[in-house]
């Protein structure tokens, strides 16, 4: 119990000390995760929408695979991305291993299925509702998907936030592909792992609280933005 209180106190001390290294770590965490969330949303949302709107032979199978991929073990993803990006791997020439880009790639792979699956569910429900109208209005497939994405945007946002939550707290994959290099690829979660390993529990805990606070702040910020939008719209 004492450790936790101590951790909270040192978290505050850390933040108010305006430590440059700390802010670097926070900034990189946000940068990597938000980039990954945006890319994964750009891939996952249309994918989910497409799956909801189209009937094809292996549809059920594809959805089952997608749902299974949601549970991908991050460590395994990290390992595979590592192999792909390592010097002898197929993308070795790109020299991406141990860079923030590699971390983004790993996170995109981890959260795209999650975002696609949540999008699929949201859009499937809306599609059931809109089906006859959109068919009657003679919409093209593209128009249908765009309409559904637009009108399901609130649920889709929830999907993105779920992706954000998973990515910001993820450590296994980015540790492997990023290497936790100081001033280069160190983010909050890898720093926590490092400090814990060194026995610096109070410091690790302080970073943990900052991580939680960050997740809450981003969620609140996005909810506030979407609410102001609602006020002007409805």
């Amino acid at each position: 119990m004492n450790d936790i209180v101590e951790g909270m106190l040192s978290a505050f001390r850390l933040i108010f000390s305006l430590d440059r290294d700390l802010f670097e770590i926070i900034l990189l965490s946000l940068q990597v995760t938000l980039t990954a969330v945006i890319i994964a949303s750009i891939i996952g949302m249309p994918m989910g929408a497409w799956l909801a709107v189209n009937r094809f032979k292996f549809r059920r199978f594809t959805i089952a695979i997608l749902n299974a991929l949601m549970g991908l073990p991050p460590v395994v993803v990290g390992l595979i991305v590592y192999i792909m990006l390592s010097r002898s791997g197929p993308f070795g020439v790109l020299n991406l291993l141990f860079t923030p880009t590699a971390m983004v790639i790993a996170q995109v792979i981890i959260i795209t299925p999650l975002i696609a699956s949540i999008s699929h569910q949201a859009i499937r429900d809306l599609w059931a509702d809109y089906h006859d109208l959109l068919i009657s209005l003679n919409t093209t497939k593209r128009q249908r998907i765009l309409t559904l994405i637009k009108d399901a945007r609130r649920s889709l946002l929830t999907g993105s936030l779920a992706g954000f939550g998973r990515a910001i707290g993820e450590v296994g994959a980015i540790m492997i592909v990023g290497g936790n290099i100081d001033h280069l690829t160190r983010v909050l979660t890898t720093a926590i792992a490092l400090e814990t390993g060194k026995g610096e529990f109070a410091f690790a805990l302080a970073l943990g609280f900052i991580l939680i606070a960050l997740a809450i702040i981003v969620n609140l910020a996005i909810h506030t933005i979407s609410k102001t939008e609602r006020a002007s719209n409805w």
Partner: protein, 238 residues
């Protein structure tokens, strides 16, 4: 001006669901002008017949012969559903939607939509989410959304079934206006009075087959089949 998609000739069309015949064989001609009402008790197949004509149901056996190619047939007809389907958007955005699908510039579309919103007396609800409107308001909005593309042919499936007198009156007026402006209207109802007020032509459907089809005046004056007579008398048809 696009070529007219009517007349439509339906020959021997049958709609089946899981091997069960729902309607048919249907043989009718939909002429270029007029207001047709399809009447019949619950479950007689009114909705299915409208859906067949609109292209929602594929006839198994039989054909629908339009006076035009598929593309313009699809572009020149609108459908108003028994329970209105509202986009989760504001009232005005619902009405603008079909125009934006056709690539009409935003400000032009908005201007036309505003005129329609005024016409259906929903100015005060213009920016309200359409899901929160009353049944009558939704139905008026659905009709405006269907008419905004100036279709040659408008289908309506019991548009006033759940509405009270004044809302019904408002909608009938809208439909009369569209009719006078040259829109071909085909509408279902089981309101006998509504048929009398609006219809030029009348189709009486019973158990999936057309029992009578002709001038509405004649139908009301002198129904030919036993079932139609019973229906008009208000007897219960099973």
């Amino acid at each position: 001006m696009v070529d007219t998609i009517l007349p439509l000739n339906v020959k021997n069309a049958t709609v089946k669901k899981r091997d069960k015949r729902i309607i048919g064989p249907i043989n009718i001609q939909i002429s270029t002008k007029g207001f047709t009402i399809i009447m019949g008790p619950n479950g007689s197949g009114k909705t299915t017949l409208l859906r067949l004509l609109h292209g929602f149901e594929n006839p198994c056996g039989g054909i629908l012969n339009w006076n035009s190619d598929v593309e313009s047939v699809q572009q020149n007809q609108s459908f108003v559903f028994q329970t209105p389907i509202m986009l989760r958007r504001t009232a005005i955005e619902n009405v603008t939607y079909p125009l934006s699908l056709r690539g009409i510039p935003k400000d032009t579309a908005l201007k036309i939509a505003k005129e329609w919103i005024s016409k259906i007396n929903l100015d005060h609800l213009c920016n309200t989410n359409a899901r929160f409107l009353s049944g009558g308001e939704k139905q008026k909005l659905a009709i405006a959304r269907a008419l905004i593309t100036k279709p040659q042919l408008l289908f309506l499936d019991e548009p006033t079934a759940n509405l009270d007198g004044s809302a019904t009156k408002e909608i009938e007026k809208l439909l009369q206006e569209a009719h006078n402006a040259g829109t071909r209207i085909i509408m279902t109802t089981h309101d006998i009075g509504q048929g009398k007020r609006l219809a030029d032509d009348l189709i009486f459907l019973y158990r999936g087959t057309i029992h009578e089809s002709g001038k509405a005046k004649d139908f009301y004056k002198k129904p030919e089949t036993q079932e139609a007579r019973a229906f008009l008398n208000g007897d219960i048809l099973e």
